[in-house]
Every structure is written in C-alpha cells, then in structure tokens.
C-alpha cells in the first residue's frame, strides 16, 4: 500500500516536472500543445476512493495552473476528467476482479482498452480545457481543432511514456 502510494507520488512529481519545465515550451504554435501530466490521473489505481481521486486530480490541476498562471483552468479540466474516469471505468470494467493497488497501465490492461481509455479521458480533459480557456463559443471550430490536435499530441506522448516504463516494469 505504501509502495503504490510512493510510486504514484513519484510519478506525480516526475510528470509535473516534465510538464512544467519541458512540455510548457513544446508545441506547434498555439494549435497543438501536449499535456502529459494527465497521465497522473490516468494511472491512479483502479480502486482508488472517489474522494482521493478528486483530490489528487484537483491538486495536480491546481499545481499546473500555478505554473501556467491560469488558476482554476486545469483544475476544472482535471475535475471533469476525474468524473469521466469514474464513469468510464464503471462502464467498461468489473472492479471486483482487480486487486487493490492495480494500476490501469498499458501493460496490465492491454492496448485496446488502454487506447480508448486514454483517448476518451484526454478528449474530455482537452475539450474542457480549451473551451474554458477561450471561454466563448464564437471560435468553436478553432477550439475544436486545437482540442483534437492537442489530444493527438498528448496521446502520442502518453504512449511513448507508457512504452518506456512498460518495458521497465516487466523487467
């Protein structure tokens, strides 16, 4: 239990550092910007209590907000994403089958499930994020374009990350 806690905390720290110091400067103009840090929320254990899930989502969003100087924006997106995660997991998985500290990682869940899981949640997160960032519906098409292209970027990065650590873990 403490093991999985430390593991998640370490992932939390690493991903936020990557997001803030590396990915903040990466992007295809304003059109496509990656948000790898949502992997923190994606890789939390399946059986995590709801309150802890919301608190950690909110906290990670808030920390990113502090660095991005958009207080509340990422927190909102992460909260929505946490709800989407709860709904997605309850719809697609039978939670009783899994161990207490089971992580929904690529290696454990298989490519297909993990891809849909990542794609759905990333899309939710990015939609909320960009909608609340522009905060109007007049540029809806541009916002949608940003959402889709950024989602693709994020998902690619998530898979790269997963492949790197997936092999490591198996070993």
């Amino acid at each position: 239990m403490s093991n999985i806690f430390i593991l998640n905390l370490a992932r939390f720290a690493i991903l936020i550092l990557i997001q803030v110091f590396l990915l903040q400067n990466v992007g295809y103009y304003n059109l496509s910007t990656p948000f790898l840090y949502i992997l923190i929320i994606l890789l939390l254990p399946i059986k995590i209590p709801h309150w802890l899930l919301f608190v950690s989502s909110f906290a990670s969003g808030l920390i990113i907000d502090i660095f991005y100087d958009t207080l509340g924006l990422h927190a909102t997106a992460c909260t929505v994403m946490a709800l989407a995660r709860i709904v997605f997991i309850s719809v697609t998985l039978q939670q009783e089958k899994y161990e207490n500290n089971q992580t929904p990682s690529l290696g454990a869940m298989g490519f297909r499930w993990f891809f849909f899981y990542t794609a759905t949640l990333t899309f939710f997160h990015h939609t909320v994020l960009f909608l609340f960032e522009t905060f109007r519906f007049s540029d809806l098409l541009y916002t949608l374009l940003r959402t889709v292209s950024s989602s693709i970027f994020t998902i690619v990065l998530i898979f790269i990350y997963e492949y790197i650590f997936f092999h490591k873990k198996v070993r």
Binding site: H50, W51, F54, V55, S57, F58, G61, L62, D65, T70, L71, G72, L73, A75, T76, C78, T79, V80, A82, L83, I86, V87, F132, F135, R136
Partner: protein
Amino acid sequence: MRNLWLFISKYNAFFLFCLFFITSLTLLLNNNSYQRAWTSGVSGQFIGEVYERATFFKNYLHLEEVNTSLAQENARLKNELKSSFLIDSAEKHIVRDSIRKQQYIYIVARVVNNSIHQQNNYLIINRGSKHGIRKGMGVTGPDGIVGIVRDVTENFARVQSVLHSESRFSASVDGGIGSLVWDEGSLNSKIAILKDIPSHVKVKPNDPVTTSGYSLFPIGIQIGHVKRVGLKGGNSFLDIEVVLSTDFSSLQYVYVINNVLAREQQAIESQTQTP
C-alpha cells in the same frame, strides 16, 4: 437523514464532482482577468435585463401610488402657479362721460367657465360682490358686448350671455333703435337678430350695430355688423341678421361695466311703469 446520507454516498462521485468543479470554476473565474471580465460583462448584462423586467412589472404594481403622488405633485405645482392666486385688487378704471354726466366703472374679469352650445348660455367670471359687482351690470369683451350679470357670489359672478333665449339688448343701427335677441333656434354663436327696426330706416349689409345707450351699456359700444336685411311679410319692422363681433368661443377677459346711475334710472323707469 439516513436515507439522505445513503443517497449521497451512493452517488458520491457526482457530489464530489460538483464540489470540486464549483471550486475550480470559482478559482478560474475569480483569478483570470479575461474570464472574470467575460463573466462580469455577461452576468452584468443578464442581471441588468432581469432587473429591468422585474422593475417593469413592479412599476405596474406601484402604478396607483405613482399616480397619486403625481397628482399630488401636480396639485402642488398648480398651487404655485400665478394663475391660481386670486388677484384681489380688482382693477377699475373710470370713464367720465362729460356730456351726459354719467359715470361708468370698468372692472376687469377673467372668464373661468363658458358655454356656447346651450340654449341658455352663461359665463362664470372671477369677480364677485367683493369687487363691487352687482346683479344687472353689463359685461363687454374686447370686441363687443357679452352679456348681463345675473348672479353674484363673493368671488364669482354668473353672466347671462348674449347667447341666451331671454337676453334682450337695446341696439342701434343707422339711427334706428331696436332690440337684439339671439336666434336660439339656430344655436349659432355668431348670429343674432335685431328686431323692431322701423322699415323706413335704410339698413345695408356691413353697417355697424352698436349699443344705443338706453340700457346698461354706454352708447356706441360695438355689437357686430349687419349680415342680411329682411322684411317680414305684413310687418312694418325690419328683420336684421347681425354677425356678433364677440367671439364667445374664445372669450378670456371681459369688463364688467358698473353704471353708477343705473339704480336711479331703474327707479324712474319703474315709477313710469306703475300707474
């Protein structure tokens, strides 16, 4: 209470979501200038519209009070108007008729009520016994005679206008003297009939008709002019239609003529009549 707690714990994800979502949204809207500006702009406009509508309906509910207060304010303002003050110093100017040694006193009065469309028309003027007006005095306007004072109260007087079925005025035209009556059948406020002019008097249209000086009025006050001269069949008197010079419909100021010698004149007239 237990059921409520069960309900909340069953859907805890949703309630937690609401809690965190509202928190983060509050943070977002309070700390980012663009979103805050948008929110305050939109909500300000929305709230403004809501309040405008609410006020619109609220105004209906308060309409009676508003009306009352407006009426009170109107009354107050009208009280301050110059015209609502009673001008107590009745203006009099005295005309001395040096030939006949007769004295006429003119009192200016304002018409406060007027009728022209009845069979018997009256005017109310804002001068009464307080200002020296008595029953039976003659009244003229700026353009000619108006009528006779019939009733007098302290501050007001009722004037029987020329346009009255019982009004009779002594009038002269081209030297002939007759009596002027109103053709009450026509109900025309412009036309009167001059009767009892002998048929030997040559009367032409547009000849001026004036007071004869026999009655309440001084001699020579304008009445009107001849419009048409007719001869009644088998009668030795002319029947003359007279256009009155006074426009009764727009009468505003009149002069009450106080004939100082009227009483003496009436006294001797009544002596003659009684055998």
